[in-house]
Amino acid sequence: MIAALVLGLIALAVVVGVAWPLVRPASAGDQLDPFTEGQRRRLALREERDLALGALKELEVDHATHHIGDEDYAELVADYRARAAEAIRKLDAEQGQPG
């Protein structure tokens, strides 16, 4: 009997705690913001930019520790700089786009 009573009290507390957000008065902030197509696009561009910038830093380390020769280093640096610049250019173009 006591066990059933204790269990009932626990269940009541749980139901109140879980149901409270649903029964309290609604507010303006109850709607979750959507993740838009524009955000996805810009995030992908920022990732592309950061990947290229990260790769440039890594190349620097690889060059300093003699894992990569001067010729390859120069070529790869130019390539990653171009990629980062392209991503930044596209990001700038995205400003003012809807979404």
Binding site: A3, A4, V6, L7, I10, A11, V14, G17, V18, A19, W20, P21, L22, R24, A26, G29, D30, Q31, L32, D33, P34, F35, Q39, R40, R42, L43, A44, R46, E47, E48, D50, L51, G54, A55, E58, L59, V61, D62, A64, T65, H66, H67, I68, G69, E71, D72, L76
Partner: protein
């Protein structure tokens, strides 16, 4: 009490189903109220499971044998320390521990991803709640810890093999690993449902995977040490299905931890990474299934206990769900770049991945082969150690080699001139090591010579990485050697933490090969006064000694050990008879030498006339296995330790693009 415990679990199950539905509604309807409600449900589940834990432990400590599980796994004579470990000594208790850890981890994961991955929260709650619901169904229906009976006067006792201090840490460490893999899996699934396939979920899941992988590794090492010192079969790894159950997800998670670097840096292998993380979690479920379904004793036990079907369903849901989501999100998972050259770091990681996954599949085949043969025919055919050793050698040595190659090759591509320069010293070290091993007569095992040679190659590679890094810092920043080393490690924790783990792997491999391929063994029936020689050690049997413990009687063979004429003391391998449990365990005697080798003695039997059957081994460099553990733990801690610079960089990226999240 049992009623409250069972009621708490039923309530937790209902809440888990509700939380999954709440997450779904919150995700589809973009409704924050459902999100908060579902999150509260997860908190309530943890509270209810903790109540169930407390009741279960109270029953164990008060010898309440009206709880069937308590009566089956404890006794009045069980030492107090092992009363706690009896928690995970039973199927129901270990599943209860699973759910408790999952509850705590779920809330931690939600907390950690609240800001940067707010969009994922509803789906994360849904996936985690579904996983929790599965285990709660097991606890409520087929494996309840709260089944009661008419209390017997005493319990049956705990399996003597589990009455060992290692059992206090080994199973919980494995469980932390198994359960921890649920979080990266849930993050991957939530990211795909939400369409957030950018690298953020990967960064969030990487640390969880590392920690889980670390716990699995520590759990396996502790289990190996336990098997070595307690079980008394004369080794540290027996390719037992329960050991393999932990090894398989560990291997796949190892592959993920390497390939994740390729995705982070190159935007490649996105689908592959999701497959790996799903595979690692599915294998952790499979591991729990293997150890908890009764299938290992017999396929018929699996059918009769019916808990196995629940696991089959869960495995199908995990793999089917992951496959379906990958197909749905395939357009978002296209690689940003391609592998340009087979001689590049990303290609090395890819080969490493193929070998790791291949090895995991070989182990999986070895595990399921007996089950398949029994299911198809009537006779169970098993694969034995040579099967596994073949694959470990065939896949392991190339893997070791790649461990040395990876750091020496730059991303994207490497020139021949650069390769010559980078590989000169490591290759020379490998060849010299191989030559020295042959010179010392160690060519009795060619895999041993090959592995030793590759180990030298990798060690020089790793050490040269530290030297080059420090030299570069010294020339750029003008630091002294020590400061340069500390800064080098501190500012590149993942990279150098990884190297430290690799050094641990090398030590482990040397210890494993030394203690197995080059061990010496001897066996004999000894009467008092007679001797047995193993290596340079002479064991002289002087008599049998009997002692009493709290719940056992021990009979040990006293052996006087001498080597090259000098007395090294006595060793006493023993057999321990547990009174209540009515079983016997081996207590091996081990003497560790200064060179890290072990004199390892097993008492196989005691005859009525006082003669003893002794098995003795000398295992060179076996101590390196355990030293490797410290490297492993140190390296993992370095890798897991939060990297503030990385956190700042990511926060900057997301600060530019305010995303749906919560403050």
């Amino acid at each position: 009490m049992a009623l409250i415990g069972q009621g708490a679990l039923i309530l937790a199950l209902l809440l888990a189903i509700y939380a999954a539905a709440g997450g779904l509604f919150a995700g589809l309807g973009r409704d924050r109220r459902f999100l908060t409600s579902a999150r509260n449900a997860l908190w309530a589940i943890l509270a209810l499971v903790v109540i169930a834990d407390a009741i279960f432990l109270y029953a164990i400590f008060t010898h309440d044998f009206s709880f069937k599980v308590v009566a089956d796994t404890t006794s009045r004579s069980l030492p107090a320390g092992y009363m706690f470990t009896a928690w995970w000594g039973s199927q129901a208790g270990s599943l209860l521990l699973w759910v408790t850890i999952l509850g705590a981890f779920s809330l931690l994961a939600l907390r950690a991803t609240r800001r940067a991955l707010g969009e994922l929260q509803p789906w994360l709650i849904m996936v985690l709640a579904l996983i929790g619901a599965f285990f709660l169904v097991l606890l409520v229906v087929p494996a309840s810890p709260f089944v009661t009976q008419l209390a017997p006067a005493d319990g049956l006792g705990l399996n003597p093999s589990l009455q060992n201090p290692y059992m206090a840490i080994h199973p919980p460490a494995l469980y932390l690993g198994y359960v921890g893999l649920a979080i990266p899996f849930a993050l991957a699934m939530a990211a795909m449902i939400a369409g957030r396939t950018d690298a953020r979920w990967l960064v969030a899941s990487r640390r969880w995977t590392l920690a889980s992988w670390g716990f699995l590794g520590i759990g396996m090492l502790l289990g190996s040490h336990w098997a070595y010192t307690e079980v008394g079969w004369g080794g540290f790894w027996a390719w037992d299905p329960v050991e393999n159950a932990a090894l398989m997800p560990w291997l796949v998670a190892t592959a993920f931890l390497h390939s994740v670097m390729v995705q982070e840096r190159k935007g490649m292998l996105k689908v592959w990474n999701i497959c790996l993380i799903s595979g690692a979690f599915a294998l952790s479920i499979f591991g729990t299934f293997l150890t908890r379904s009764g299938i290992l004793s017999s396929i018929h036990a699996f059918v009769s206990t019916n808990i196995g079907w629940y696991f089959v369903f869960a495995l199908a849901a995990v793999l089917g769900g992951a496959f379906g989501l990958i197909l749905w999100r395939l357009p978002l998972l296209k690689a940003d770049q391609r592998i340009e050259s087979l001689v590049s770091r990303e290609a090395t990681f890819l080969f490493n991945n193929l070998l790791l996954v291949g090895l995991a599949f070989a182990v999986l085949w070895g595990v399921i082969f007996p089950l398949l043969t029994e299911a198809v025919g009537s006779v169970r055919e098993t694969v034995s150690t040579p099967f596994y050793v073949f694959f470990v050698v065939a896949f392991g040595i190339p893997l070791l080699f790649l461990m040395g190659v990876g750091p020496l090759i730059a991303w994207r591509r490497a020139s021949l001139k650069q390769l010559r320069r980078s590989f000169l010293w490591p290759v020379a070290a490998g060849l010299i090591a191989g030559g020295v091993m042959i010179g010392f007569g160690l060519d009795s095992s060619w895999p041993g010579v090959a592995a030793g040679s590759v180990c030298a190659f990798v060690t020089v590679t790793i050490l040269s990485e530290f030297v080059r890094g420090v030299a570069a810092r010294r020339s750029i920043h003008g630091e002294n050697w020590l400061v340069a080393l500390l800064h080098l490690i501190g500012r590149n924790r993942r990279r150098y933490g990884g190297y430290i783990v690799h050094l641990g792997v090398i030590l482990f491999v040397i210890g494993a090969i030394g203690s197995s391929a080059y061990e010496t063994r001897a066996e004999g029936l000894l009467k008092p006064g007679q001797s047995l020689t193993v290596g340079s050690n002479v064991l002289t049997f002087t008599g049998v000694e009997k002692t009493r413990g709290p719940n056992f009687v021990e009979r040990g063979a006293v052996l006087n050990v001498t080597s090259d004429g000098s007395n090294l003391g006595t060793l006493k391998p023993a057999k321990r008879s547990y009174l209540r449990e009515q079983t016997t365990s081996n207590e091996v005697a081990i003497r560790t030498t200064l060179t890290g080798g072990d004199l390892f003695i097993i008492l196989d039997g005691i005859r009525g006339d006082g003669a003893v059957q002794i098995k003795a081994f000398y295992k060179p460099v076996v101590g390196l296995l355990w030293i490797a553990g410290f490297f492993f733990v140190g390296g993992v801690i370095l890798c897991v330790w939060p990297d503030e610079r990385e956190a700042r960089r990511i926060l900057r990226r997301y600060a530019e693009e305010p995303l749906p999240g919560e403050s």
